[in-house]
Protein backbone atom coordinates (compact mmCIF):
# COMPACT_ATOMS: atom_id res chain seq x y z
CA UNK A 1 0.00 0.00 0.00
CA UNK A 2 1.67 3.19 -1.15
CA UNK A 3 1.11 6.61 0.30
CA UNK A 4 1.54 9.95 -1.47
CA UNK A 5 2.75 13.03 0.37
CA UNK A 6 3.15 16.61 -0.77
CA UNK A 7 5.38 19.59 -0.05
CA UNK A 8 4.55 23.28 0.04
CA UNK A 9 6.87 23.65 -2.96
CA UNK A 10 4.57 21.37 -4.96
CA UNK A 11 6.62 18.19 -5.08
CA UNK A 12 4.99 14.84 -4.46
CA UNK A 13 6.53 11.63 -3.16
CA UNK A 14 4.92 8.21 -3.44
CA UNK A 15 6.39 5.81 -0.90
CA UNK A 16 6.64 2.03 -1.23
CA UNK A 17 8.63 0.54 1.62
CA UNK A 18 11.91 2.48 1.79
CA UNK A 19 11.70 3.78 -1.77
CA UNK A 20 10.10 7.06 -2.76
CA UNK A 21 9.15 8.18 -6.28
CA UNK A 22 9.28 11.98 -6.63
CA UNK A 23 7.73 14.38 -9.09
CA UNK A 24 6.03 17.76 -9.27
CA UNK A 25 2.32 18.19 -8.81
CA UNK A 26 -0.31 18.91 -11.40
CA UNK A 27 -0.68 22.38 -9.91
CA UNK A 28 3.06 22.96 -10.38
CA UNK A 29 3.12 21.84 -14.01
CA UNK A 30 0.16 24.03 -14.76
CA UNK A 31 1.84 27.05 -13.18
CA UNK A 32 5.07 26.38 -15.10
CA UNK A 33 3.43 25.93 -18.46
CA UNK A 34 5.02 23.88 -21.23
CA UNK A 35 8.00 21.99 -19.85
CA UNK A 36 10.85 21.92 -22.38
CA UNK A 37 13.76 20.51 -20.37
CA UNK A 38 14.31 18.65 -17.13
CA UNK A 39 17.71 18.37 -15.47
CA UNK A 40 17.89 15.36 -13.20
CA UNK A 41 20.53 14.34 -10.64
CA UNK A 42 22.82 11.37 -11.25
CA UNK A 43 21.93 7.99 -9.85
CA UNK A 44 23.74 7.58 -6.55
CA UNK A 45 23.62 11.25 -5.60
CA UNK A 46 22.57 12.11 -2.06
CA UNK A 47 19.68 14.55 -1.93
CA UNK A 48 18.76 16.45 1.17
CA UNK A 49 15.29 17.43 2.32
CA UNK A 50 14.47 20.92 1.10
CA UNK A 51 17.61 21.28 -1.06
CA UNK A 52 17.92 21.45 -4.87
CA UNK A 53 17.41 18.11 -6.50
CA UNK A 54 16.46 18.85 -10.11
CA UNK A 55 15.62 21.73 -12.43
CA UNK A 56 12.56 22.00 -14.61
CA UNK A 57 12.60 24.49 -17.47
CA UNK A 58 9.51 25.91 -19.12
CA UNK A 59 9.59 28.12 -22.20
CA UNK A 60 9.83 31.14 -19.93
CA UNK A 61 12.04 30.16 -17.01
CA UNK A 62 14.02 27.62 -15.05
CA UNK A 63 12.67 26.45 -11.67
CA UNK A 64 14.32 24.44 -8.93
CA UNK A 65 12.79 21.22 -7.71
CA UNK A 66 13.57 20.42 -4.08
CA UNK A 67 13.92 17.01 -2.47
CA UNK A 68 10.87 16.33 -0.25
CA UNK A 69 12.98 14.07 1.97
CA UNK A 70 16.61 13.03 2.38
CA UNK A 71 17.91 9.99 0.54
CA UNK A 72 20.01 8.65 -2.31
CA UNK A 73 18.89 8.58 -5.92
CA UNK A 74 18.31 5.02 -7.16
CA UNK A 75 16.72 5.78 -10.54
CA UNK A 76 15.90 8.70 -12.81
CA UNK A 77 13.14 9.00 -15.40
CA UNK A 78 15.08 8.81 -18.68
CA UNK A 79 11.91 9.41 -20.64
CA UNK A 80 11.96 13.09 -19.62
CA UNK A 81 15.09 13.86 -21.64
CA UNK A 82 13.34 13.02 -24.90
CA UNK A 83 9.80 13.93 -23.85
CA UNK A 84 9.90 16.64 -21.18
CA UNK A 85 6.26 17.50 -21.91
CA UNK A 86 5.34 14.26 -20.10
CA UNK A 87 5.61 16.41 -16.98
CA UNK A 88 2.65 18.41 -18.27
CA UNK A 89 0.56 15.51 -19.49
CA UNK A 90 1.16 13.14 -16.57
CA UNK A 91 2.71 15.06 -13.67
CA UNK A 92 1.61 12.56 -11.06
CA UNK A 93 2.37 9.48 -13.18
CA UNK A 94 4.75 8.97 -16.12
CA UNK A 95 6.18 12.43 -15.52
CA UNK A 96 7.97 11.35 -12.32
CA UNK A 97 11.52 12.68 -11.85
CA UNK A 98 13.53 10.35 -9.60
CA UNK A 99 13.30 7.42 -7.22
CA UNK A 100 15.21 7.63 -3.98
CA UNK A 101 16.03 5.33 -1.09
CA UNK A 102 14.83 7.15 1.99
CA UNK A 103 17.41 7.83 4.71
CA UNK A 104 14.94 9.01 7.29
CA UNK A 105 11.33 7.93 6.68
CA UNK A 106 10.24 9.96 9.73
CA UNK A 107 10.65 13.07 7.55
CA UNK A 108 7.50 11.99 5.71
CA UNK A 109 5.41 12.78 8.77
CA UNK A 110 6.02 16.50 8.25
CA UNK A 111 4.64 16.45 4.69
CA UNK A 112 1.03 17.02 3.69
CA UNK A 113 -1.33 14.24 2.71
CA UNK A 114 -3.47 14.63 -0.39
CA UNK A 115 -6.41 16.28 1.38
CA UNK A 116 -4.19 18.82 3.14
CA UNK A 117 -2.33 19.61 -0.08
CA UNK A 118 -5.59 20.12 -1.93
CA UNK A 119 -6.70 22.57 0.74
CA UNK A 120 -3.27 24.26 0.61
CA UNK A 121 -3.51 24.79 -3.15
CA UNK A 122 -7.05 26.12 -2.91
CA UNK A 123 -5.75 28.64 -0.39
CA UNK A 124 -3.24 29.91 -3.01
CA UNK A 125 -6.12 31.21 -5.08
Amino acid sequence: MSTVKFTEDHEWIRVDGDTGTIGITDYAQEQLGDVVYVELPEVGRQVEKGKDMAVVESVKAASEVYAPVTGSVTAINDKLSAEPATVNSAAMGDGWFVKIKLSNPAELDKLMDEASYKKYVEGLG
Binding site: V36, Y37, E39, E57, K60
Partner: protein, 373 residues
Protein backbone atom coordinates in the same frame (compact mmCIF):
# COMPACT_ATOMS: atom_id res chain seq x y z
CA UNK B 1 12.42 44.48 -16.32
CA UNK B 2 11.84 45.67 -12.79
CA UNK B 3 8.25 46.56 -12.08
CA UNK B 4 7.50 49.89 -10.48
CA UNK B 5 5.08 49.71 -7.56
CA UNK B 6 1.61 51.11 -7.92
CA UNK B 7 -1.51 50.03 -9.76
CA UNK B 8 -1.04 48.39 -13.12
CA UNK B 9 -2.48 50.00 -16.21
CA UNK B 10 -4.91 48.14 -18.43
CA UNK B 11 -5.16 48.12 -22.20
CA UNK B 12 -8.57 48.51 -23.87
CA UNK B 13 -8.53 44.70 -24.40
CA UNK B 14 -8.05 43.85 -20.73
CA UNK B 15 -11.62 42.57 -20.21
CA UNK B 16 -11.17 40.20 -23.15
CA UNK B 17 -7.99 38.66 -21.75
CA UNK B 18 -9.75 37.73 -18.55
CA UNK B 19 -12.68 36.33 -20.51
CA UNK B 20 -10.34 34.20 -22.62
CA UNK B 21 -8.74 32.73 -19.50
CA UNK B 22 -5.38 34.46 -19.88
CA UNK B 23 -2.75 34.29 -17.19
CA UNK B 24 -2.09 37.96 -16.49
CA UNK B 25 1.28 39.28 -15.39
CA UNK B 26 2.76 42.73 -14.79
CA UNK B 27 4.71 43.92 -17.82
CA UNK B 28 6.04 47.44 -18.37
CA UNK B 29 3.48 48.84 -15.94
CA UNK B 30 0.55 47.02 -17.56
CA UNK B 31 -1.34 43.92 -16.60
CA UNK B 32 -0.82 41.79 -19.71
CA UNK B 33 -1.59 38.23 -20.84
CA UNK B 34 1.53 36.04 -20.79
CA UNK B 35 -0.43 33.08 -22.12
CA UNK B 36 -3.92 31.74 -22.70
CA UNK B 37 -5.06 28.29 -21.58
CA UNK B 38 -3.53 26.44 -24.57
CA UNK B 39 -0.04 27.50 -23.48
CA UNK B 40 2.98 29.19 -24.99
CA UNK B 41 4.16 26.36 -27.25
CA UNK B 42 0.74 25.86 -28.86
CA UNK B 43 0.32 29.63 -29.28
CA UNK B 44 3.75 29.91 -30.85
CA UNK B 45 3.05 27.08 -33.28
CA UNK B 46 -0.38 28.44 -34.12
CA UNK B 47 1.16 31.79 -35.09
CA UNK B 48 3.67 30.09 -37.38
CA UNK B 49 0.93 27.93 -38.94
CA UNK B 50 -2.16 30.15 -39.08
CA UNK B 51 -2.83 33.56 -37.51
CA UNK B 52 -2.11 34.77 -33.99
CA UNK B 53 -3.67 37.90 -32.53
CA UNK B 54 -1.62 39.88 -30.01
CA UNK B 55 -2.66 42.79 -27.84
CA UNK B 56 0.17 45.28 -28.17
CA UNK B 57 -1.86 48.29 -27.04
CA UNK B 58 0.63 48.82 -24.21
CA UNK B 59 3.17 49.99 -26.76
CA UNK B 60 3.43 53.73 -27.28
CA UNK B 61 1.87 55.30 -30.34
CA UNK B 62 3.14 58.82 -30.86
CA UNK B 63 2.18 61.17 -33.68
CA UNK B 64 4.55 63.86 -34.92
CA UNK B 65 3.28 66.75 -37.01
CA UNK B 66 5.54 69.39 -38.50
CA UNK B 67 5.05 72.94 -37.33
CA UNK B 68 4.85 75.66 -39.99
CA UNK B 69 7.93 75.71 -42.17
CA UNK B 70 9.34 72.50 -40.70
CA UNK B 71 10.00 69.05 -42.13
CA UNK B 72 9.04 66.46 -39.51
CA UNK B 73 11.24 63.75 -41.07
CA UNK B 74 14.34 65.96 -41.07
CA UNK B 75 13.60 67.01 -37.50
CA UNK B 76 13.19 63.40 -36.29
CA UNK B 77 16.44 62.44 -38.01
CA UNK B 78 18.30 64.48 -35.40
CA UNK B 79 17.35 61.78 -32.85
CA UNK B 80 17.51 58.57 -34.92
CA UNK B 81 20.01 57.14 -37.43
CA UNK B 82 17.30 55.81 -39.77
CA UNK B 83 16.57 57.36 -43.14
CA UNK B 84 13.28 59.05 -42.30
CA UNK B 85 13.42 61.63 -45.08
CA UNK B 86 13.59 58.75 -47.53
CA UNK B 87 10.25 57.39 -46.29
CA UNK B 88 7.61 58.13 -48.90
CA UNK B 89 3.99 58.33 -47.71
CA UNK B 90 2.69 54.86 -46.93
CA UNK B 91 6.06 53.42 -45.99
CA UNK B 92 7.58 52.65 -42.62
CA UNK B 93 10.99 51.87 -41.20
CA UNK B 94 12.67 50.47 -38.09
CA UNK B 95 15.12 52.75 -36.25
CA UNK B 96 16.45 53.65 -32.81
CA UNK B 97 16.63 56.65 -30.49
CA UNK B 98 20.35 56.98 -29.73
CA UNK B 99 22.22 58.65 -26.87
CA UNK B 100 25.53 60.53 -26.85
CA UNK B 101 27.45 57.25 -26.56
CA UNK B 102 25.70 55.79 -29.57
CA UNK B 103 23.65 53.60 -27.20
CA UNK B 104 20.02 52.74 -27.86
CA UNK B 105 17.48 54.57 -25.69
CA UNK B 106 14.71 52.68 -27.45
CA UNK B 107 13.92 51.09 -30.79
CA UNK B 108 10.87 52.07 -32.77
CA UNK B 109 8.89 51.93 -35.97
CA UNK B 110 8.30 55.13 -37.93
CA UNK B 111 5.62 55.35 -40.62
CA UNK B 112 4.90 58.23 -42.93
CA UNK B 113 1.13 58.72 -43.10
CA UNK B 114 1.45 61.58 -45.56
CA UNK B 115 0.43 64.25 -43.06
CA UNK B 116 2.26 62.93 -40.02
CA UNK B 117 4.87 60.55 -38.78
CA UNK B 118 3.43 57.73 -36.68
CA UNK B 119 5.84 56.21 -34.19
CA UNK B 120 5.41 52.97 -32.30
CA UNK B 121 7.78 52.68 -29.33
CA UNK B 122 8.23 50.15 -26.54
CA UNK B 123 5.76 50.14 -23.65
CA UNK B 124 8.44 50.38 -20.99
CA UNK B 125 10.03 53.40 -22.64
CA UNK B 126 7.10 55.36 -24.00
CA UNK B 127 6.94 58.03 -21.31
CA UNK B 128 10.70 58.61 -21.53
CA UNK B 129 10.55 58.61 -25.34
CA UNK B 130 7.82 61.24 -25.39
CA UNK B 131 9.85 63.38 -22.98
CA UNK B 132 12.95 62.91 -25.15
CA UNK B 133 11.04 63.99 -28.25
CA UNK B 134 9.60 66.97 -26.44
CA UNK B 135 12.96 68.04 -25.04
CA UNK B 136 14.66 68.05 -28.41
CA UNK B 137 11.93 68.64 -30.97
CA UNK B 138 9.02 70.50 -29.36
CA UNK B 139 9.92 73.77 -31.04
CA UNK B 140 9.66 72.21 -34.50
CA UNK B 141 7.05 69.41 -34.33
CA UNK B 142 3.80 68.75 -32.49
CA UNK B 143 4.15 65.65 -30.34
CA UNK B 144 0.96 63.78 -29.47
CA UNK B 145 0.91 60.70 -27.27
CA UNK B 146 -1.88 58.49 -28.59
CA UNK B 147 -1.59 56.17 -25.60
CA UNK B 148 -5.30 55.50 -25.32
CA UNK B 149 -5.48 53.97 -28.79
CA UNK B 150 -5.65 50.24 -29.27
CA UNK B 151 -2.97 48.32 -31.15
CA UNK B 152 -3.17 44.68 -32.14
CA UNK B 153 -0.86 42.51 -34.19
CA UNK B 154 -2.25 39.82 -36.47
CA UNK B 155 0.65 37.57 -37.40
CA UNK B 156 1.10 34.40 -39.36
CA UNK B 157 0.80 32.92 -42.86
CA UNK B 158 -3.02 33.20 -42.82
CA UNK B 159 -3.12 36.78 -41.50
CA UNK B 160 -3.61 38.22 -45.00
CA UNK B 161 -6.46 35.79 -45.73
CA UNK B 162 -8.21 36.81 -42.55
CA UNK B 163 -7.76 40.56 -42.77
CA UNK B 164 -8.43 40.46 -46.51
CA UNK B 165 -12.02 39.41 -45.76
CA UNK B 166 -12.53 42.78 -44.06
CA UNK B 167 -10.28 45.00 -46.16
CA UNK B 168 -9.22 43.35 -49.44
CA UNK B 169 -6.64 46.09 -50.15
CA UNK B 170 -4.50 44.76 -47.32
CA UNK B 171 -3.55 41.66 -49.31
CA UNK B 172 -1.41 43.59 -51.79
CA UNK B 173 0.41 45.73 -49.20
CA UNK B 174 4.10 44.81 -49.15
CA UNK B 175 6.06 44.38 -45.92
CA UNK B 176 6.76 47.69 -44.16
CA UNK B 177 3.99 49.66 -45.83
CA UNK B 178 1.07 51.39 -44.13
CA UNK B 179 -2.46 52.48 -45.02
CA UNK B 180 -5.70 53.72 -43.49
CA UNK B 181 -8.19 50.87 -43.93
CA UNK B 182 -11.77 50.42 -42.78
CA UNK B 183 -12.13 47.18 -40.86
CA UNK B 184 -15.59 46.18 -39.67
CA UNK B 185 -16.66 49.81 -39.94
CA UNK B 186 -13.69 51.21 -38.04
CA UNK B 187 -11.00 53.40 -39.61
CA UNK B 188 -7.71 51.79 -38.66
CA UNK B 189 -4.12 52.58 -39.40
CA UNK B 190 -2.73 49.29 -40.67
CA UNK B 191 0.89 48.45 -41.28
CA UNK B 192 2.19 45.26 -42.84
CA UNK B 193 4.69 44.58 -40.12
CA UNK B 194 5.15 42.79 -36.86
CA UNK B 195 7.74 41.25 -34.64
CA UNK B 196 7.41 37.51 -35.13
CA UNK B 197 9.27 36.92 -38.40
CA UNK B 198 5.94 36.01 -40.01
CA UNK B 199 3.83 37.89 -42.49
CA UNK B 200 1.18 39.97 -40.79
CA UNK B 201 -0.17 43.32 -39.74
CA UNK B 202 -0.26 45.74 -36.89
CA UNK B 203 -3.62 47.47 -36.62
CA UNK B 204 -4.03 50.74 -34.75
CA UNK B 205 -7.55 51.82 -33.83
CA UNK B 206 -9.39 54.12 -31.46
CA UNK B 207 -9.35 52.68 -27.95
CA UNK B 208 -13.13 52.32 -27.77
CA UNK B 209 -13.18 50.30 -31.00
CA UNK B 210 -10.51 47.83 -29.87
CA UNK B 211 -12.74 45.42 -27.98
CA UNK B 212 -15.47 44.89 -30.60
CA UNK B 213 -13.01 44.77 -33.49
CA UNK B 214 -10.75 42.28 -31.74
CA UNK B 215 -13.71 40.09 -30.82
CA UNK B 216 -14.76 40.16 -34.46
CA UNK B 217 -11.32 39.08 -35.69
CA UNK B 218 -11.16 36.32 -33.08
CA UNK B 219 -14.36 34.86 -34.53
CA UNK B 220 -12.46 33.99 -37.71
CA UNK B 221 -11.53 30.30 -37.48
CA UNK B 222 -7.81 30.82 -38.22
CA UNK B 223 -7.30 33.34 -35.43
CA UNK B 224 -6.31 32.59 -31.85
CA UNK B 225 -5.21 34.99 -29.11
CA UNK B 226 -1.49 34.89 -28.34
CA UNK B 227 0.24 36.11 -25.19
CA UNK B 228 3.54 37.79 -24.42
CA UNK B 229 5.23 34.44 -23.78
CA UNK B 230 4.87 33.31 -27.38
CA UNK B 231 5.54 36.84 -28.61
CA UNK B 232 8.96 36.52 -26.97
CA UNK B 233 9.76 33.04 -28.32
CA UNK B 234 8.61 34.06 -31.81
CA UNK B 235 10.75 37.21 -31.92
CA UNK B 236 13.74 35.37 -30.50
CA UNK B 237 13.57 32.68 -33.20
CA UNK B 238 13.24 35.52 -35.73
CA UNK B 239 16.47 37.04 -34.34
CA UNK B 240 14.71 40.32 -33.47
CA UNK B 241 16.09 42.41 -30.64
CA UNK B 242 14.13 43.09 -27.46
CA UNK B 243 14.93 46.47 -25.90
CA UNK B 244 16.02 46.03 -22.31
CA UNK B 245 17.48 42.61 -23.14
CA UNK B 246 19.44 42.60 -26.39
CA UNK B 247 19.75 46.33 -26.84
CA UNK B 248 19.82 49.16 -24.34
CA UNK B 249 21.50 52.48 -23.59
CA UNK B 250 24.90 50.73 -23.40
CA UNK B 251 24.76 48.94 -26.77
CA UNK B 252 25.06 50.59 -30.17
CA UNK B 253 23.14 49.67 -33.32
CA UNK B 254 26.39 48.47 -34.90
CA UNK B 255 27.15 46.16 -31.96
CA UNK B 256 23.58 44.89 -32.14
CA UNK B 257 23.89 44.03 -35.83
CA UNK B 258 21.37 46.67 -36.83
CA UNK B 259 23.60 48.14 -39.55
CA UNK B 260 20.89 47.33 -42.11
CA UNK B 261 18.62 49.89 -40.42
CA UNK B 262 21.07 52.77 -41.07
CA UNK B 263 21.14 53.97 -44.66
CA UNK B 264 24.33 55.02 -46.42
CA UNK B 265 23.34 58.70 -46.40
CA UNK B 266 22.96 58.70 -42.62
CA UNK B 267 26.23 56.80 -42.11
CA UNK B 268 28.03 59.41 -44.18
CA UNK B 269 26.28 62.54 -42.98
CA UNK B 270 25.61 61.67 -39.34
CA UNK B 271 23.53 64.40 -37.75
CA UNK B 272 21.95 62.30 -34.98
CA UNK B 273 22.87 61.99 -31.33
CA UNK B 274 25.94 59.79 -30.88
CA UNK B 275 26.73 59.79 -34.60
CA UNK B 276 30.51 60.08 -34.10
CA UNK B 277 30.66 56.81 -32.17
CA UNK B 278 28.37 54.95 -34.53
CA UNK B 279 30.26 56.26 -37.56
CA UNK B 280 33.55 55.19 -36.00
CA UNK B 281 32.16 51.69 -35.41
CA UNK B 282 31.04 51.50 -39.03
CA UNK B 283 34.58 52.46 -40.05
CA UNK B 284 36.64 50.43 -37.59
CA UNK B 285 34.24 47.72 -36.50
CA UNK B 286 32.59 47.28 -33.12
CA UNK B 287 34.45 45.62 -30.23
CA UNK B 288 31.57 43.19 -29.66
CA UNK B 289 28.71 41.81 -31.68
CA UNK B 290 25.26 40.50 -30.95
CA UNK B 291 25.08 36.97 -32.36
CA UNK B 292 22.81 33.98 -32.40
CA UNK B 293 23.86 31.21 -30.06
CA UNK B 294 22.75 27.61 -30.41
CA UNK B 295 23.30 25.24 -27.49
CA UNK B 296 24.34 21.76 -28.65
CA UNK B 297 22.22 19.99 -26.03
CA UNK B 298 18.59 20.42 -25.02
CA UNK B 299 19.09 22.65 -21.98
CA UNK B 300 18.04 26.27 -22.55
CA UNK B 301 20.52 29.04 -21.78
CA UNK B 302 18.95 32.21 -20.42
CA UNK B 303 19.64 35.94 -20.27
CA UNK B 304 22.62 37.00 -18.12
CA UNK B 305 24.48 33.67 -18.47
CA UNK B 306 28.21 34.06 -19.10
CA UNK B 307 29.65 33.17 -22.48
CA UNK B 308 33.18 31.74 -22.54
CA UNK B 309 35.42 30.53 -25.30
CA UNK B 310 36.25 26.84 -25.27
CA UNK B 311 39.38 27.65 -23.27
CA UNK B 312 37.18 29.09 -20.53
CA UNK B 313 37.90 32.79 -21.07
CA UNK B 314 34.95 35.12 -20.46
CA UNK B 315 34.00 36.70 -23.80
CA UNK B 316 30.43 37.84 -23.40
CA UNK B 317 26.95 37.50 -22.01
CA UNK B 318 23.62 36.01 -23.09
CA UNK B 319 20.91 38.67 -23.55
CA UNK B 320 17.94 36.52 -24.57
CA UNK B 321 17.54 32.79 -24.39
CA UNK B 322 14.92 30.14 -24.16
CA UNK B 323 13.28 27.33 -26.00
CA UNK B 324 12.30 27.78 -29.63
CA UNK B 325 9.26 25.66 -30.44
CA UNK B 326 9.78 25.96 -34.21
CA UNK B 327 13.55 25.56 -33.96
CA UNK B 328 12.63 22.62 -31.72
CA UNK B 329 15.42 23.32 -29.31
CA UNK B 330 17.09 25.97 -27.23
CA UNK B 331 17.97 29.26 -28.94
CA UNK B 332 19.69 32.36 -27.62
CA UNK B 333 21.33 35.64 -28.51
CA UNK B 334 24.18 37.38 -26.80
CA UNK B 335 27.16 39.68 -27.15
CA UNK B 336 30.57 38.20 -27.83
CA UNK B 337 33.94 39.79 -28.55
CA UNK B 338 34.25 40.59 -32.24
CA UNK B 339 36.94 37.92 -32.66
CA UNK B 340 34.45 35.24 -31.59
CA UNK B 341 31.48 36.40 -33.63
CA UNK B 342 31.83 34.30 -36.80
CA UNK B 343 29.08 31.74 -37.37
CA UNK B 344 30.18 28.32 -36.18
CA UNK B 345 32.59 29.64 -33.53
CA UNK B 346 32.51 27.16 -30.63
CA UNK B 347 31.61 28.66 -27.25
CA UNK B 348 30.54 27.63 -23.79
CA UNK B 349 27.68 29.09 -21.82
CA UNK B 350 27.68 28.71 -18.07
CA UNK B 351 24.38 27.41 -16.70
CA UNK B 352 24.11 26.46 -13.03
CA UNK B 353 27.93 26.32 -12.79
CA UNK B 354 28.19 23.92 -15.72
CA UNK B 355 29.73 24.79 -19.08
CA UNK B 356 27.34 23.89 -21.90
CA UNK B 357 28.79 23.56 -25.39
CA UNK B 358 27.27 26.06 -27.81
CA UNK B 359 28.18 27.65 -31.13
CA UNK B 360 27.61 30.99 -32.81
CA UNK B 361 24.63 30.51 -35.13
CA UNK B 362 23.41 32.61 -38.04
CA UNK B 363 20.30 34.69 -37.34
CA UNK B 364 17.41 34.27 -37.72
CA UNK B 365 16.89 30.79 -36.29
CA UNK B 366 13.63 30.57 -38.25
CA UNK B 367 13.47 32.09 -41.72
CA UNK B 368 11.50 35.31 -42.07
CA UNK B 369 8.40 34.98 -44.21
CA UNK B 370 7.52 38.59 -44.92
CA UNK B 371 5.35 39.48 -47.91
CA UNK B 372 7.55 41.48 -50.23
CA UNK B 373 4.88 42.00 -52.90
Amino acid sequence: MSEAPGPLQKTPLHPLHAELGARLVPFAGYEMPVQYPTGIVAEHQHTRAAAGLFDVSHMGQIRLTAKAGQNAAAVLETLVPGDIQGLVPGRMRYTQFTNANGGILDDLMVANTGDHLMLVVNAGRKVEDAAHLRKHLADRVEIEELFSRGLIALQGPLAADVLGRFAPQCRAMPFMTAAFLTIDGVTCYVTRSGYTGEDGYEISMPGEAALPLTRRLLREPEVKPIGLGARDSLRLEAGLCLHGNDIDATTTPVEAGLNWSIAKRRREQGGFIGAEIIQRQFRDGAPRKLVGIKPEGRAPVRAHAEIRDRQGKLIGIITSGGFGPTANGPVAMGYVAAANAAAGTPLQVIVRDKALDCAVAPLPFVKHRYFRG
